[in-house]
């Protein structure tokens, strides 16, 4: 479990994050969403200490991260960076096995894991393992960026817009795979996106941010049914809201009519 306690972050007296209090439950897929520049990446990077908060406290399973060794901390938290950033001088196999190698894991074991992960995202290890990133398409690179964070089997994974560079079809496909995968691995995942459809599709809970503060944290259904204010409603968009309300109306209408049918 990851918890934020009154976390604030300022750069030169400019407030980037204001009084953040959050509880991210173990095994949940927690989405951070909001307009560009609202502080999603900053919030995420404070978890693995790439950014230090100005005040407040972040805990993982009750332990203050500021007291942990940052290198050790980061090796146990998977990280998918917004810019993908595969190391161009390493093969795909070397990129994916990087953290296990840093942790001096058993070679036979991580090689097997790398093959599994490549297979999982539809990249044949025989074909791709020894290629260099420059020999992959953008979408293939993004898949590698995602599985690279999973190679050491960390309990927590931070993902910063991991599917943004994909075309709509492979994005949907990867989202589906991802949801299915998460059902089995049950990692604690903090997932940043600016795509509301993606958030609704994959998340257990959505945290909508604006100007460095949390506006609403709720399950996708609740967010759609009861947006906290007009900002949330605007951000979700009238089309999705209507769609959700109609679906709800239909299902409640069904419920309402059900007893009458049963009478007759």
């Amino acid at each position: 479990m990851i918890s934020f306690h009154s976390v604030e972050m300022r750069i030169n007296d400019v407030s980037i994050i204001q009084k953040l209090d959050l509880q991210i439950k173990a095994g949940e897929l927690f989405v951070l969403i909001g307009p560009s520049g609202c502080g999603k990446t900053t919030t995420m990077k404070m978890i693995n200490r790439l950014i230090e908060p100005t005040s407040g406290r972040i805990e993982i399973n009750g332990e203050d991260v500021s007291l942990a060794d940052p290198v050790e901390l980061r090796r146990n938290i998977g990280y998918v960076i917004q810019q993908i950033a595969l190391f161009p001088h390493m093969t795909i196999g070397q990129n994916v096995s990087l953290v296990p190698r840093l942790k001096k894991a058993d070679q036979a074991q991580y090689e097997k894991k790398v093959d599994e992960l490549l297979d999982m995202v539809g990249l044949d290890p025989k074909v791709f393992k020894n290629r260099y990133p420059a020999e992959l398409s953008g979408g293939q690179q993004q898949r590698v960026g995602v599985i690279r964070a999973m190679a050491a089997d960390p309990p927590i994974i931070l993902m910063d817009e991991p599917f943004s560079a994909l075309d709509p079809i492979s994005r949907e496909q990867l989202q589906d795979e991802f949801v299915r995968l998460q059902k089995t691995i049950k990692k604690t995942i903090v997932f940043v996106t600016h795509d509301m459809d993606e958030a609704i599709k994959i998340s257990d809970r959505i945290c909508l941010m604006n100007n460095g503060a949390v506006v609403q944290v709720d399950s996708p259904e609740k967010l759609l049914q009861r947006p906290a204010n007009s900002f949330v409603a605007d951000f979700i968009g009238i089309k999705r809201l209507k769609g959700a309300q109609e679906r709800q109306a239909v299902s409640s209408a069904k419920k309402a009519t059900l007893p009458r049918w049963s009478i007759s």
Binding site: I84, P88, A134
Partner: protein, 216 residues
Amino acid sequence: MSEFIQFIQERHEQILLLIWEHSYISFIAVMAGFLVSVPLGIILTRTEKMNRYVIGFVNILQTIPSLALLGLMIPLLGIGAVPAIVALFLYSLLPMLRNTFTGIMEVDPALKEAAKGMGMTSFQILWKVELPLAISIIMGGFRTATIYTISWATLAAVIGGGGLGYLVFTGLGVANDNMLLTGALATAMLATIADFITRKIQNVCTPKGLRSNRAN
């Protein structure tokens, strides 16, 4: 033309000796320059405040006319090969220092952040990410420095440092065109060989994933 060939035949022992002198003066100067400028360049990437001053200082060294720098060596170190090597060493610093510094600074910040975020120590980031990605540029600086040093090394003769400059300057002094031409051609030949070798070294050092001429 036949006179020229005759000159070479008569003097071939001296010419070979001068080529050897020229090569080792240049080689020692560039190697010393490499051993100083690469670590210094790396340190500069770690200290944001100092780098402007150090690079500025080395830039100034570079703008001192080479003859003047050699002249300055005489009161400090006297004449001969040693002051010549020191002067050439100072000259060789800039290309390698600048390339090391910019090579590392220009590594994509996203890659450095990915490395850090995945739990690499700062030494691992330097050794496994920054240096491999900058090595081609660093070795490019080595190449430039080597070729420049070989041509500047002709000036070593001016302060009694030997090398092919001896043929050039004596040839100029006694109006012996064959001597002058031999010195100039031999220097050009050395520079060409050095260019070839250092290019090979640069290619070998460039990590496989970054080689542009890679067969796909």
